[in-house]
Amino acid sequence: MAYSDKVIEHYNNPRNVGALPKDDENVGTGLVGAPECGDVMKLQIKVNAETEIIEDAKFKTFGCGSAIASSSLATEWVKGKTVAEALSIKNTDIVKELSLPPVKIHCSVLAEDAIKAAISDWKKKHE
């Protein structure tokens, strides 16, 4: 299968790889997918409690090139956005940006799920 240039670029130079301290109350962690399915994404955000702006984001992904690229792009996009804005990111936006073929759409769905899971984890800490 041929990959789009953007997928290859993210695969070769993934943005924001790493981990944030998951016990920090300003950090939200989303872990989605399953090893048996061949995709696991961990996406973390660090949120400013005052402004609700996502100041930092990190990811690690087990999965194909498209899964790595989708999560790399997701961290890029959430950074600088408010939590509310980040929630509006749709998997279809990722599909479009990375020119993902139909068999790789699930990678973008997983990235959207990862963003939502990270935000929900952060929210839970502030309930």
Binding site: Y3, I8, Y11, P14, V17, A19, L31, V32, G33, A34, P35, E36, C37, G38, D39, V40, M41, K42, K60, T61, F62, G63, C64, G65, A67, I68, V103, L110, D113, A117
Partner: protein, 404 residues
């Protein structure tokens, strides 16, 4: 060293230049139809076909008259299974095979099931072997055929064909083996191994694509097949259709080379495979070999690199041609059914890579491949949440995964 490097020799092999040379006359001046009985063009073509038949028979210890040319091993498998099922319908309707067979066998069996045959798909153990005891137990009065592959195309595991053949003979059941990956790679003799039918393919042994053969025993027992293609009655009526003379000439040359160089080649493949395996195992933790390591094709290495998804690994080593058992690399989006049958967990199946070392690989290439794989696995593990969790001491099996 030239890039990209080809190390996927179970999928296909490059054409040996000596084979191409043997084919050239039949692609140019000697273009005759081997069935033309009354002029020089036909005679030349027929001579080439008969010479090739001899070479292929010699390679597997058969009589030349027992070689039926086909378009490839998929057709050979179809002809063996459907041909026996058709011819021996009155004797019985039961076939025994195993779950790690090639799709050409499995799907032919499923086709026959729809036509009223009964098929037993035997399991394999964690090393990839079918149990002789299971075979014995599965045989009934209605069993007409046992079909078990010699060497597996994914994990390279070599079954105990001689013993399976012995069981079949004792019980009066015909025995077919898909020997595509084995012939020309390891010693294979139809008489020593009690084989009644064997599927062969030219392009897996440095010959051209589009030509294969079915070995069909002529005596003790004499095997009869209902043809699946009707027509001019070529190949003793078992396979009609004008013979692919240049392809067959190439197949014959490939068989001759394979026979003459077999011993040397086995040693070379084994040496290079072990060099690759040793380097990968020395430099990387948590790598697992799929299938038995002892009874295995000398050029095959099938390895899982835990926590690194196969397709992403292939993407990182894009200047190397190998293949993966990962779901993402298959049309079905399911991980390899062969690895699954061996009991390899889906998590590890997703991380598997098949290396197929062949005649034209070099030590320099093996070292390059090893280094590229090592550096890519290390890089992707840095990116892998599973590796991170495993290093933190988290048992991944105990995690409740959101997608489950």
């Amino acid at each position: 060293m030239k890039l990209p490097i080809y190390m996927d020799n179970h999928a296909t092999t490059p054409l040996d230049p000596r084979v191409l040379e043997a084919m050239m006359p039949y692609l140019t001046d000697k273009f005759g139809n081997a069935a033309s009985r009354n002029h020089q063009f036909g005679w030349d073509a027929e001579a080439a076909v008969e010479d090739a038949r001899k070479q292929i028979a010699l390679l597997i210890g058969a009589d030349p008259r027992e070689i039926v040319f086909t378009s490839g091993a998929t057709e050979s498998d179809n002809l063996a299974l459907k041909g026996v099922a058709g011819m021996y319908r009155e004797k019985g309707d039961h076939i025994i095979t195993c779950v790690t067979e090639h799709k050409a066998i499995l799907d032919s069996c499923k086709h026959l099931e729809k036509e009223g045959c009964r098929v037993t798909f035997l399991p394999v153990n964690d090393k990839g072997f079918v149990s002789l005891e299971d075979i014995r137990r599965a045989i009934t009065e209605k069993t007409i055929l046992i079909s078990i592959m010699t060497a597996n195309n994914e994990v390279g595991v070599v079954q105990d064909i001689k013993e399976i053949g012995k069981i079949a003979r004792e019980r009066g059941v015909l025995f077919h083996t898909d020997a595509v990956q084995a012939v020309g790679k390891i010693p294979f003799n139809v008489n020593e191994m009690n084989v009644d039918m064997a599927s062969l393919s030219a392009h897996k042994m440095y010959g051209p694509k589009g030509v294969g053969a079915l070995y069909v025993r002529r005596r003790n027992p004499r095997v009869l097949l209902t043809p699946i293609i009707d027509g001019g009655g070529h190949e003793r009526g078992m396979r009609s259709g004008t013979l692919n003379v240049p392809g067959i000439a190439g197949f014959g040359k490939a068989a001759q080379i394979a026979r003459e160089e077999l011993e040397k080649e086995i040693a070379e493949m084994f040496r290079m495979r072990e060099r690759l395996r040793a380097t990968l195992e020395r430099e990387l933790d948590e790598v697992y070999i799929n299938g038995d390591l002892e009874k295995r094709l000398p050029g095959n290495l099938n390895m899982s690199f835990a926590y690194v998804e196969g397709e992403s690994l292939l993407m990182g080593i894009h200047d190397i041609a190998v293949s993966s058992g990962s779901a993402c690399t298959s049309a079905s989006l399911e991980p390899s059914y062969v690895l699954k049958a061996l009991g390899v967990g889906e998590d590890l199946a997703h991380t598997s890579i098949r290396f197929g070392i062949g005649r034209f690989n070099t030590d320099e290439e093996v070292d390059y491949v090893a280094n590229r794989v090592i550096e890519t696995v290390r890089r992707l593990r840095e990116l892998s949440p599973l590796y991170e969790m495993a290093k933190e001491g988290i048992d991944l099996k105990s995690v409740h995964w959101a997608a489950e």
